[in-house]
């Protein structure tokens, strides 16, 4: 009922920028879907194209099986929450929430009833008579959500839903949003530049750059097996180690160490590779990458240790609290079983399958 299908979709701005570049994507009914990428990657344009606020230059947008590419915004059955919430400042909370019904010229009683029920669902009942300026950031966001829900659309679009909240509130709102989406069962697409937010909320994530999808997968797939070095670099709260190396005698030579490649990979000698290892998946051991400890950053439960390896390569790894090494000490670490990823040195694509076994 709320499935979204995009086929060969491009959105080109008048200045010639291809913000969305021949993109194919299918979002399932009831899915919580994240569009993730750095700023300028086209994720917001894609969301606005689905909403109908931008006109697709090529390709087809279909909602629930029908082609809506040329249908105006507002007639597509798509509700949207804007990054700045865009609550109407001259209307009360109740009037704001009931606005989608007012547009349809619904009777006043229906409008009031809708405002009251949606407000009750989002804990806004006490605020119905206030104006947006009298609300906190979190309350404003819930009013914007209530207004979008009041539209009774089959698809909900959220543009950077958490970016305007302060850090502490953001975590609460994240949990709240995930539960709300589960309860409503609405197909929900949200845009974010924060990888942690995407990993925490979404059922599936599309990582975008330059108007194209770099990887499409569950948070687990995207985190554990990034499809290329761009995604590998972008996902994760500590940057992944991406170490250039080469293959000799069936082993991977990186940062002055020789590591055993993933079992299912057949590598020819001399292939240039980039080894990708998350700092969280590196453990101290007797054999592996050896270097001198140069920086220790406290992350709370763990610390991020940077070691300088032969060839001026910097490698990061996390160690549990109380186990921080001294600066200048020598430390040897090796990747956990199955956590070493290899990318082709020229194409930057992952060697092997991107799928993850649960």
């Amino acid at each position: 009922m709320g499935a979204i299908e995009l086929t060969g979709l491009s959105t080109v701005y008048p200045n010639g920028v291809r913000a969305v570049d021949s993109l194919d994507l299918a979002i399932r009914d009831g899915e919580f879907f994240a569009l993730l990428g750095p700023s300028g990657c086209g994720k917001t344009t894609l969301l606005r194209t689905i909403a109908g606020l931008e006109q697709a230059s090529e390709g087809v947008v279909s909602l629930a099986g029908s082609d809506v590419t040329r249908v105006e915004a507002g007639k597509r059955g798509v509700a949207m929450v804007f990054q700045d919430y865009a609550l109407f400042p001259h209307m009360t909370v109740a009037q704001n929430i009931a606005y989608p019904l007012r547009v349809k010229r619904a009777p006043k009683q229906a409008q009031t009833a809708a405002a009251e029920s949606k407000a009750a669902g989002l804990g806004l009942s006490a605020l119905l008579e206030r104006r947006p300026a009298q609300l906190s950031g979190g309350q404003q966001q819930r009013v914007a959500l209530a207004r979008a829900i009041a539209m009774e659309a089959s698809v909900l679009l959220l543009d950077e839903p958490l970016s305007n909240l302060d850090a502490r509130l953001r975590l609460d709102a994240r949990t709240f949003l995930k539960r709300l989406q589960r309860d409503l069962g609405l197909t929900t697409v949200f845009v974010t530049h924060d990888q942690a937010e995407a990993l925490a909320l979404a059922d599936r994530i599309a990582v975008m750059s330059d108007g194209k999808i770099r990887q499409l997968g569950t948070p687990k797939e995207v985190f554990q097996r990034p499809a290329d070095t761009f995604v590998a670099n972008f996902i994760g709260s500590t940057p992944m180690n991406l170490l250039p190396g080469s293959v000799s005698d069936g082993l991977v030579e990186v940062a002055g160490a020789r590591l055993a490649p993933p079992a299912d990979l057949a590598l020819t000698d001399g292939t240039p590779v980039v080894a990708g290892i998350r700092p969280e998946y590196l453990r101290r051991s007797t054999d592996g990458i050896t270097g001198t400890v140069s920086i220790v950053e406290n992350l709370g439960v763990t610390s991020l240790v940077t070691i300088e390896c032969p060839g001026d390569t910097l490698v990061g790894l996390t160690v549990p609290e109380h186990e921080e090494p001294e600066i200048g000490a020598t430390l040897t670490a090796s990747p956990d079983q199955g956590r070493l990823l290899l990318y082709h040195g020229e194409t930057n694509q992952l060697l092997g399958e991107a799928a993850v076994a649960d």
Partner: protein
């Protein structure tokens, strides 16, 4: 201490300079023998009776109101619509067009165009028409009104409109439900400004309304003389007071009713 006394004395002189005409306007209409100086009035209401009996005084105030309502309504409505369009639609040379209009507007209703305007209106047979004069005044005010309103509407976030559109609002609904209410303080400002401009406009009504029955207060004020040809100080103080009231009243009304600014709803 000395600096402070100098400052106080200076401020007192400046204040008196501005206060004297106001006090004159408050006292002279009630003085049995009003002069050009300021003095404690010898209270009477005779001046009021004489002014009300004047054949054109009250009529000219009504004329002023008709003229200003036409000019203000045309300026505000067309100015708002034009400013909204110019703010939201990209056309090449838009800014140049705006500046050119602003530049020319001072010419169009200024002294430079006095003769052409008179000839044009004469040939159109619109001399002595209050509505036509109102339109000419509005024409002169529109560029400045559009310029100011465009700046104001530029500052209204587009996401308000986009949000309304996503919820299914038609362009008319977007305008009526969202743009106009949000831009209301700006529109109110232009409304008062246009009214004041038109109310005080002397040159155009003087040129285009030759019939004394049609003339607004600003023009009639010039003709208030006694038999000897000197200023009629019985009628002028009362008339001046009456002439000042509508503008002040409008300002107070609009500022109370529409002058406050909405904000919030956009998380910046």
């Amino acid at each position: 201490m000395l600096r402070r006394s100098v400052y106080v004395v200076f401020m007192a002189v400046v204040l008196a300079f501005f206060a004297v005409p106001m006090l004159w306007l408050a006292s002279a209409p009630f003085d049995s023998d009003p002069g050009l100086g300021l003095r404690w009035p010898d209270w009477t209401l005779d001046n009021w009776r004489i002014t009300f009996d004047h054949p054109y005084a009250l009529g000219s105030l009504v004329n002023s109101i008709v003229l200003c309502v036409v000019a203000t309504a045309v300026t505000t409505v067309l100015g708002t619509l034009a400013a909204y369009a110019l703010s939201r639609v990209r056309i090449p040379g838009r800014d140049a067009l705006l500046y050119l209009l602003l530049l020319l507007s001072s010419v169009v209703t200024g002294t430079a165009a006095m003769v052409p305007i008179f000839v044009m209106m004469f040939q159109l047979g619109l001399i002595n028409s209050q509505y036509a004069t109102g339109l000419v005044i509005a024409g002169g005010m529109l560029p400045a009104a559009i310029f100011i309103l465009k700046d104001f509407i530029d500052s209204v976030p587009r996401s308000y409109e986009e949000s309304a559109r996503v919820f299914g609002a038609s362009p008319t609904q977007v305008l009526l439900h969202v743009v106009l209410p949000v831009a209301r303080p700006g529109i109110a400002t232009i409304l008062v400004w246009a009214f004041v401009q038109a109310w005080g406009n002397f040159l155009l009504p003087f040129l285009l309304l030759r019939d004394v029955e049609q003339q607004p207060a600003a023009v009639l004020l010039r003709t208030l003389k006694d038999e000897g040809g000197s200023a009629n100080l019985t009628v002028i103080p009362v008339f001046s007071l009456l002439y000042a009231i509508p503008v002040v009243a409008l300002y107070l009304f609009v500022s109370k009713r529409y002058g406050f600014r909405f904000h919030g709803g956009i998380k910046a």
